[in-house]
Structures are given as structure tokens and as C-alpha cells.
């Protein structure tokens, strides 16, 4: 199979929308990132802004991401829940509208890991991140155009640079806060897990009036990367994000995302399994209530098996009500020679009323003959028999529905390995569901 790029736009300078988008940005010169930024900007200009007719933008209207500047947002409305993972012993990095706040953060020294921030490190010569910044994002553009990823590499000024060399005793917690109700925020994390090293990265909070993040994750041989993100339950939230991961031989990559509310969010994940016996799992639980305005959540995943005996799992669950819209586009590509691949994908939506909708597009593309790949996608409503069973035992209707939704989400949540983290997330879900019952 030829890895032909499908960068189909003729856009460039002829596109007034693109010109306006670029004109509104303040492009940093960059330090060690300068060449990567320049190349990314050229990629972005060549790709242009996405349009509704593009293969991977048919279900999600890109106009809010394409707009030159975001509409101001009510950032005081961060929802009733307190921050997650507060009781955990972890190393905190706080970003305010995408800019590192050293005073609010912990000391970045932790055994087994080197932590820097992009803005602070950019000027250093010979920094390890120089070889990684923008490279996985660029590779992730090979098969499907991801213009906002390229844009991020070109304009992001800050983010976490994490190089894991051992097994740090505490998770690293990236915390986002909002300050400016019209901020257009770009942040870019680079994470390298060296051979045999292991880390857990947590990410919570909200940022800006519009956010755009890129996380590049390079998990080297035998390394383990656990990633858990949980977005605060504020009602207004507009964001695009992309995870670009490379998983080497015997390495483990696991990412779980929890999204509660929001306006429009799109998470893209591009995961390349490049070494034998590697494992890559990506999961998401989404609870969307359209009661306070539009809600749309889009998970767009592309996993490539390029080596033998790789295992991949995509587990995405969406609970939608009051006209909320859920989108899942997930692909498994098995390259020639990637024998004994075990690929699994499930996307399910639970619609709590008839106004909500789920659009799913599973794709399998397989060029090896000894593989096991399966996918499933379902859309359903609350099962009346189960509901009656619970109520007949005395469980009130509202509580019974909460239990049933938690039951529906259980497979996605099971992708969080750490039991105490899983319980905290489960409690958060429970609280949200109880309020929205």
C-alpha cells in the first residue's frame, strides 16, 4: 500500500478564511522549535482549513474552529464540581490559558523524569525535545489531513516537555485554568518515555475561549504511558485536540478521556504501533447534555499497526440527552506484515431521549492475512426491563438510570488501570448524572 498523503486542499493564500485565520495569529519565532514551526506552517497553509465536505469533517461543523477569533465565553461557568484528583500525591503543573504558571505549580524536580516547559526551554541549545517537537504531528498527517495539528505546532508557545527515564513515584498532573474570556489558546506537550520507563500523566481543567492542544507521545521499547484526562463539567467549552503517539516494541500506551458537557469538542488520536508486541488502548466516556446550549463531541481515531503481534483497543461510550450530538470516527489500519495483530474497536451511544443523535463511522483496512480485528457500534436507549428490575427492588427511577448509565460506561472506565483513579472518575460521573437525572 502506498502511503499517499490525502492533503486535498487547494486552499493556500487564495482562501480568504485561511488568510484571516493566519492574520489573527501571533506567530512565534521559536528557539529550537523554529524549523518545526516553519514546516508546520507550510503544512497548514497547504492543507487549508477543513470544510464540511472533507471525508473526516462530514459530521462535525468546523466553522467554530475555522473562525479567525473565538467568540468570548462565559468562563465563570465552570460547573459545580470541584477539581479532580485533589487528594492524590502528584506533581502539579498549572497552565493558565495555556501559559505555565510556575508560582502555582510544584517544584518540577522528580526522580526518574525531566520536566521542562516549552516557553522556558525553547532557547536552550541541545534540548532533547528538539528532535521530537512537531515530528510525530507531521507523521500523523501522512494519511489524513489534520490542519489544526499543524497549526498548533506552528503557533503553540507553551506546554509540558516530559522525558521519562525511570519510574517516577508520583503521577504528573497538568492542570488547566481559564483567565481570559476571549483567549485563543494553543498548547503543545511533548512526552518521551525512554526504554523501560513508566509514567502516569493526568490532565484536567479548561482553558481559553477556544483551545487547541497537541500531545506528542513517543513510547520507546518496553516503556509504559498511562494518560488520563478529565475535562471540568463547565457548560461552555470549545476545543480541538490531537494526540500523536508512536508506540515501540513491547511498549504500552493507554489513554482515557472523560468529557462532561461542553459546546463543541473534537479529539483526534493518531497512534502508530511501530514495534512488535506493543499495546495501544484509547478510551473515552462522554456525557453530553444539550440543555444549556449546543453540545457536540467528536472522537476521531486512527490506529496503525505496522508491526507484529500488536494489540489495540478503542472503547468509546457516549451518553447523550437534550439534543446532544456524539460523533465517532475510528479506524484500524493493519499494514502488510503486521501479522497476529489483535485490533478491537467499540463505539456505543446511549441516547436518553429522542432528540439526541450519534453518528458513528468505524473503518477497518487490513493488508495482513493472519490478524484478528473486530469492531462494533451500537446506539440504544435505556432498557425498560432493566429499569423496571431496579425499580421493583426499590431503587428510585432517577437513581436506577444513574446505575444503568454507569453500567453502560463501565467498559470504557475499565481502561483506567489504577483503581483509585477509576473510583474518583466514577464518583464524578455519578455526581454529574445525579444532577442531570
Amino acid at each position: 500500500m502506498a502511503d499517499t498523503a490525502v492533503l486535498t486542499h487547494e486552499a493556500g493564500a487564495a482562501d480568504p478564511g485561511l488568510a484571516a485565520r493566519l492574520g489573527a495569529l501571533d506567530l512565534p519565532a521559536g528557539g529550537f522549535t523554529a524549523p518545526a514551526r516553519k514546516a508546520a506552517l507550510a503544512r497548514f497553509e497547504k492543507m487549508g482549513l477543513p470544510r464540511g465536505r472533507d471525508e473526516y469533517w462530514r459530521y462535525t461543523d468546523p466553522s467554530a474552529f475555522n473562525a479567525a477569533v473565538p467568540a468570548p465565553m462565559d468562563i465563570a461557568d465552570s460547573g459545580p464540581d470541584g477539581p479532580l484528583f485533589e487528594d492524590l500525591d502528584r506533581l502539579r503543573l498549572v497552565f493558565v490559558d495555556g501559559v505555565f504558571d510556575a508560582a502555582a505549580s510544584d517544584d518540577l524536580a522528580l526522580e526518574g523524569v525531566e520536566i521542562d516547559t516549552l516557553a522556558a526551554a525553547e532557547g536552550q541549545a541541545g534540548h532533547w525535545a528538539a528532535d521530537v517537537y512537531g515530528t510525530l504531528e507531521a507523521e500523523g498527517q501522512t494519511r489524513v489531513a489534520r490542519p489544526f495539528g499543524a497549526l498548533n505546532t506552528a503557533v503553540a508557545r507553551d506546554g509540558a516537555l516530559i522525558r521519562v527515564t525511570g519510574k517516577p513515584s508520583r503521577p504528573i498532573h497538568l492542570i488547566h485554568r481559564r483567565a481570559d474570556d476571549s483567549a485563543d489558546v494553543y498548547f503543545h506537550h511533548v512526552i518521551v518515555v525512554e526504554p523501560g520507563a513508566e509514567v502516569t500523566v493526568l490532565e484536567t481543567g479548561m482553558t481559553g475561549a477556544r483551545s487547541n492542544y497537541v500531545i506528542e507521545v513517543d513510547v520507546r521499547e518496553g516503556g509504559s504511558f498511562h494518560h488520563i484526562t478529565a475535562k471540568r463539567a463547565g457548560y461552555q467549552k470549545l476545543g480541538w485536540g490531537g494526540i500523536f503517539a508512536r508506540v515501540a516494541a513491547k511498549a504500552l500506551f493507554k489513554s482515557f478521556n472523560l468529557s462532561l458537557n461542553g459546546t463543541l469538542m473534537r479529539h483526534e488520536a493518531v497512534i502508530d504501533i511501530v514495534g512488535d508486541d506493543a499495546v495501544a488502548h484509547i478510551a473515552g466516556a462522554v456525557l453530553g447534555d444539550g440543555k444549556n446550549g449546543d453540545f457536540a463531541h467528536d472522537d476521531t481515531v486512527f490506529i496503525t499497526h505496522g508491526a507484529e503481534r500488536g494489540e489495540s483497543r478503542q472503547v468509546f461510550k457516549k451518553v447523550l440527552k437534550n439534543g446532544a450530538k456524539g460523533i465517532f470516527q475510528g479506524k484500524i489500519l493493519v499494514q502488510p506484515g503486521a501479522q497476529k495483530t489483535d485490533g478491537y474497536q467499540i463505539s456505543q451511544a446511549l441516547l436518553l431521549d429522542e432528540d439526541s443523535q450519534f453518528l458513528g463511522k468505524p473503518e477497518l483496512e487490513i493488508y495482513a492475512d493472519d490478524v484478528q480485528c473486530s469492531h462494533g457500534s451500537t446506539t440504544g436507549a435505556i432498557d425498560e426491563t432493566v429499569l423496571f428490575y431496579l425499580r421493583s427492588r426499590g431503587v428510585p427511577k432517577g437513581r436506577a438510570i444513574v446505575l444503568m448509565v454507569l453500567s453502560f460506561l463501565a467498559d470504557a472506565l475499565a481502561e483506567v488501570e489504577d483503581e483509585s483513579l477509576r473510583e474518583q472518575i466514577s464518583e464524578r460521573l455519578d455526581a454529574w448524572l445525579t444532577r442531570h437525572a
Binding site: 432498557d383 425498560e384 426491563t385 432493566v386 423496571f388 428490575y389 431496579l390 425499580r391 421493583s392 427492588r393 426499590g394 431503587v395 428510585p396 427511577k397 437513581r399 436506577a400 446505575l403 444503568m404 454507569l406 453500567s407 453502560f408 460506561l409 463501565a410 467498559d411 472506565l413
Partner: protein, 252 residues
């Protein structure tokens, strides 16, 4: 305890009349059996009494200790002391059996204005009751009914009954899908719960369950009505001659 008078009910969607005037009284402490051919309305009666959606009561009434059942939500009927053991207990993946049981027990206690059971007290009681039903710790931890055998599911129903301590237990074809050993175990669990202030309505096709759970009264149901009421000997008569004779006699 349970008093049903001239109860009529139809399927909401199809408008089909299923119950056509059921009258029945189960006094405190008694075990009554309802037998009848397929389609006679036995299961519908259990659903209408416990409040399942999809049925419309068109006439008649049903009370539990004088309280009108039919106006209440299913959870209110449960808190008032009604329990339905399902013919096909449902599986609930991702919800642990213990969590489910504790949620149910405490929801009922709360609805009755009683103090909720602490986790420790609850565990102590549930372990004790589970043991007598041959339900091991693993079954308690697993998601509700997921991967349970037919017998395990029915034993789990009896465990719920034992934990919720209802006043009026309706058992909908609890014997279906059970082998003799499993049936004995279930019957033992039920017999252990028999008490002067607790009544049972046992719905079954066959007499064999009634060998293990001895009824005080047997009702024969056909075409949405109770057509005959008698002692335990009525079940034996059905076993010997089938329903045809009884129905013919009633029709004649």
C-alpha cells in the same frame, strides 16, 4: 395482606385485554399458588401488581395492607413491602451485586424513614444470608447476574428477597429452567423466609415446585380470571389430569 378485586388490565400498545376480573385475597402468613395454562395472564398479573410499564388497569383494585398499590410507582410498592422474583432476572454489567443490593436495601429504608445500613452492617448480614443460599463471595462481587447460571440467578433473586425482607412476595415461575437440586435450594430459601407476617404468591405451570413450597391455597387461572380455588389437592389434580378437565368443568 394482598387483596385483588375484579382487576382488569390491558396491554397499552395493542389494547388487548389480558386480565378480565381477577379477584383474590392472600391473608398474612399464607402461601398461595397460581397455576394455569400458557397465556392465562399469570405473569401479567405479577407485572400489573408490581407496576411495570406497558399495562393499563381498566377496572378493579389491588391493595397491600389496605394501601392502594396501583397508584404507586414500582419503587414505592417495593418500599411498601412488595417483591417480585423475576422469571428472567436481568443482567446488569458493570454494577456489582453488592452495590446493587445495598442501593436497594438503603433506598427502601430511606423511603420508609428508617436509618440506612452502614457498609459494615450490610456486609455482615449479606454474607450470612448468602451462605445459607450457597452464594459465594465471588457471586456477590460479580456484576448483577452477569455470567450466572439459571440456578444462580434464581438464588440471587431469593437473596434479594431475604435482604429486602418484603411482606408480600410474588414469585413468577421461579421454577422455570431449574433442575431438581437447584429447585430444592431455592425452595429451602423461600421456606426459611416463611413467617406469620409474610405472604407468598407463587406462580407456576407445574405442581413440582409446590412439592417443595407447600401452598395453603391453590388458584387456577384461565383467560384472565381465577376459575377455581382450592387446597393443595387442586395442584395434584392438575398434575394428574391437566388443565383441560378443570377448564371444561368451569365452562360447562
Amino acid at each position: 395482606m394482598l387483596k385483588i378485586e375484579n382487576l382488569h388490565a390491558k396491554l397499552e400498545d395493542e389494547g388487548k385485554q389480558i386480565l378480565k376480573g381477577v379477584t383474590l385475597e392472600v391473608p398474612a402468613g399464607e402461601v398461595h399458588a397460581i397455576m394455569g395454562p400458557n397465556g392465562s395472564g399469570k405473569s401479567t398479573l405479577s407485572y400489573v401488581l408490581s407496576g411495570r410499564d406497558g399495562y393499563e388497569v381498566t377496572e378493579g383494585e389491588a391493595t397491600l395492607n389496605g394501601e392502594d398499590l396501583l397508584e404507586q410507582e414500582p419503587e414505592e410498592r417495593a418500599a411498601a413491602g412488595l417483591f417480585l422474583a423475576f422469571q428472567y432476572p436481568v443482567e446488569i454489567p458493570g454494577v456489582g451485586n453488592l452495590t446493587f443490593l445495598r442501593t436497594a436495601v438503603n433506598a427502601q429504608r430511606k423511603a420508609r424513614g428508617e436509618e440506612e445500613l452502614s457498609a459494615a452492617d450490610f456486609l455482615k448480614v449479606v454474607r450470612e444470608k448468602a451462605k445459607s443460599l450457597d452464594i459465594d463471595a465471588d457471586m456477590l462481587k460479580r456484576p448483577v447476574n452477569v455470567g450466572f447460571s439459571g440456578g444462580e440467578k434464581k438464588r440471587n433473586e431469593i437473596l434479594q428477597m431475604a435482604m429486602l425482607e418484603p411482606k408480600m412476595c410474588i414469585m413468577d415461575e421461579t421454577d422455570s429452567g431449574l433442575d431438581v437440586d437447584a429447585m430444592r435450594l431455592v425452595a429451602k430459601g423461600v421456606n426459611a423466609l416463611r413467617a406469620p407476617d409474610r405472604s407468598f404468591l407463587v406462580i407456576t405451570h407445574y405442581q413440582r415446585l409446590l412439592d417443595h413450597i407447600q401452598p395453603d391455597v391453590v388458584h387456577i387461572m384461565a383467560d384472565g380470571r381465577i376459575v377455581r380455588t382450592g387446597g393443595p389437592e387442586l395442584a395434584l389434580e392438575v398434575e394428574k389430569n391437566g388443565y383441560a378437565d378443570i377448564l371444561a368443568a368451569e365452562a360447562g
